[in-house]
Amino acid sequence: MIERKDYLQDPVVHIKISKKLTVDQLMQQFKNSGSLGAGRLATACDIYENMISDPECTVFLALSGAVIPAGMRTLVADLIRKRFVDVVVCTGASMVHDAIEAVGGHHYKGSCVVSDHELYKHHIFRIYDVFVTEEDYVRLDYQLSEMYDNIAAKHKGESLSSNEFTWEIGKCLKDPNSILRAAYEENVPIFLPAVRDSEFGFIHWLHSSQQNKKPILQLDAFKDVPTISGICSKSPKNGMVVIGGGVPRNTIQSAALASKKGLDYGVVITMDRPEIGGLSGSTLEEAVSWGKIKGQANQVMVIGDALMVFPFMVASVTERLGEDFRRVPFLERERLLEQRC
């Protein structure tokens, strides 16, 4: 039985700001508070550090929302290059935004207080307070259409999975800051479970509607399922960091379920609420009921804007691990061992 004194073991230590405070030192202050958003963020940093440091864990990153056009592109590419992420699952739009910049386009600091009808007349699109021009999309479309031609010719009409598709696109891009390019070079799979619902899908129409076009690029939505479930299955432990939620989060959780593993670690950063029953706001405890995450998993949900929360997490954990920290993911070690045998 829990006694009264058991509830009162850990007093809140108040946050103290000194002149030279590093990000991780601030995070330790948050941990000392242990309360509200600060406490959850500090816990998220501990869990992410544990995931990366655990030699048996495969780290999945789920990306949704507009964090890539808003400034998180290089951060994600760097995480892939440092192998702080082993598998990326994201919306098609996130990788379209990456590709727009990879071929020379830009996202601009804008405003949410603006005439959208005027923006329309100027061929400028708005993502809350970020602007992107139609011509940056169209230039990408035109290049993608040519890439689709070449990929389809190479595969002779054979169907690709979404992660084979992203690998081929990453191969065509040259920008070292591109997420797609970094994933191609580091052999990190990027899965796009809702690839059709993005410019990648609508450009397929441009590609396939050309007169006498043969072969047409074919994607098989089901082909990813054994691949991602197989990764979960082979890895002794699995962890996920979720930015937003939606289809990418569900894909990772379902792969963990299909492989009968359940996730060992989970960090979800979201602004969504659980009451409406949508996945993005659903609690990690709810996922326990499905077997998607283990009952004893190391997990936390941070309610906040991922564009603010996630860079703090990455900065804090990078500082803890130090510049010389080199991670060899579990599945990579397995592959190297197999090659040696």
Binding site: H123, T133, E134, E135, D141, Y142, N212
Partner: protein, 73 residues
């Protein structure tokens, strides 16, 4: 600039997308026909069909053209 909205040109056609704003258009119809899809905003072809929503492409392309001609004079 009064006639910018009513001019029969690519910038007022419903197959137009901005390619090099405001002077160049990406034409999805020409792309489907395997023709060079990049055309001048102020050009026009036999597939012209008036755009359902107005934009500033033609107005800005005319202004740019006038500026270019004035500089040449």
């Amino acid at each position: 600039m009064k006639n910018a909205k009513t001019l029969k040109c690519c910038g007022n056609c419903d197959a137009h997308n901005s390619y090099d704003y405001p002077s160049k258009i990406f034409c999805s119809t020409r792309h489907a026909q395997n023709k060079d899809p990049i055309v001048d905003t102020l050009w026009c072809c036999e597939d012209y069909s008036r755009v359902c929503q107005e934009c500033y492409c033609v107005r800005e392309a005319l202004m740019e053209k006038e500026g270019r001609e004035a500089a040449q004079r």
